[in-house]
Assembly symmetry: C2
Homo-oligomer: 214 residues x 2
DNA sequence: TTCGTTATTGATTGATCGATCAGTAGACAT
DNA sequence: ATGTCTACTGATCGATCAATCAATAACGAA
């Protein structure tokens, strides 16, 4: 009889386990990317066997898709909420809703921006699936909104895509910078969403016309 | 006698080969990260044996450091140039020089931002080395400049670190987005540096006082 | 040409990856 | 209790990784 107590194998419902695995996988993928993450690491984080992951998911890529699906479904919910809370049907109010949604997405899913940046360049099946499933609609509607606001003189002129990525860059970087180089700045985390919104608005809205918030 | 002509082994100076390897490694690391990149891929890109990489570099991590060193030395040169071209010794002119340097860095080293984002979160030896060697000085001087400009009312109030990452986020994202989701927008690449500078200035400089460019 | 230096290769190592699968054990119905 | 699903494990496979090393071919010096 060894000193250690018996392993005491726990057994959960398939749905619970899947959710737990997705959670553990998300933080690993966000840190090291797809190829940099091993299924053994994820399993060790959870204290289960590596083969359990492949019992619940067909393969590693399937697990990655499940992670991204969970994130983007949450994000879609946020977008929906913010658009419903928009102050009006006019393009500027809609754009403000989109901006707020972007910021909330980056705040509530801090791994999202990093995951996107990591998977963004390589031409993988994963990227194709991601772009087609989630990214394209969000991009298209945002750019259209920006262009519409530009026609009304509410948003600075220039390539709408540039402005789109300006918004995305500010929100994404600002919320994922913290542990990134926590070695550098002892600044308190995370930044105030309202302060971030101010930066985004300053960056894109036209200063020539007086700013009107409804 | 096979149909293929003889391999015709080429031989270069150690310095030339090192530079060539660094170049090939950079694009691979930028796409797939450290763990996602194999030395065999890099070697294949160059048409040489995998063992050649480990003849010129102690190991894979050493090669990664060489890549980052080259990038950051180029970046340091850019920073130096822009500060020398600054319009004056006042904080605002200096900050403008820093901004222009950031933008040029992201333009001339499009892999930099991606590499930083990918290596940013994991607590690796590589990151510690990177932060200590290159990142900290740049961060500290930039934040100090921002704070100084804030005291003079030239830059919007708020956490200087937030503004620092606002600059970084715009410049970095805007230049690395292109292939990222080239599937999404057929927008022409890359964006005009002057237009990016406009966005950054709009995002951080105070609108209350009239803008003065020297 | 010949020699010596050194850049380069091919074969091979042990470690580690994702994946497979036969077997084990927990929960619940009966 | 007994049986029956099914969540779960441990052993193991082939592939692939970074790394090592002896053998080799290119080049300049003699």
């Amino acid at each position: 009889m060894s000193i250690t107590t018996k392993p005491k194998r726990t057994r959960r419902s398939a749905a619970d386990r899947r959710a737990q695995i997705i959670l553990a996988a998300k933080s690993r993928f966000a840190v090291a990317g797809f190829e940099g993450t091993t299924t053994r690491q994820i399993a060790e984080d959870m204290g289960v066997a590596q083969s359990l992951l492949l019992y619940h998911f067909e393969n590693k890529g399937d697990l990655w898709k499940a992670v991204m699906t969970q994130i983007f479904e949450h994000a879609s919910l946020v977008v929906k909420e913010e658009f419903e809370a928009a102050e009006g049907p006019d393009p500027k109010s809609q754009l403000m809703a989109a901006i707020r949604a972007f910021i909330r997405m980056c705040l509530e899913e801090p791994d999202l921006h990093r995951l996107m940046t990591m998977e963004g360049r390589a031409h993988s099946d994963r990227l194709d699936w991601l772009a087609e499933t989630y990214l394209k609609p969000l991009h298209d509607t945002s750019v259209a909104l920006i262009a519409e606001c530009q026609e009304r003189g509410q948003v600075d002129p220039g390539d709408p895509t540039l402005l789109y990525y300006t918004i995305l860059g500010i929100a994404g970087t600002v919320f994922s910078f913290t542990p990134e180089i926590g070695l550098l700045s002892p600044s308190s985390v995370p930044p105030d969403p309202k302060a971030v919104e101010e930066r985004v608005c300053a960056a894109i809205f036209s200063q020539k016309a007086p700013r009107t918030f409804e």
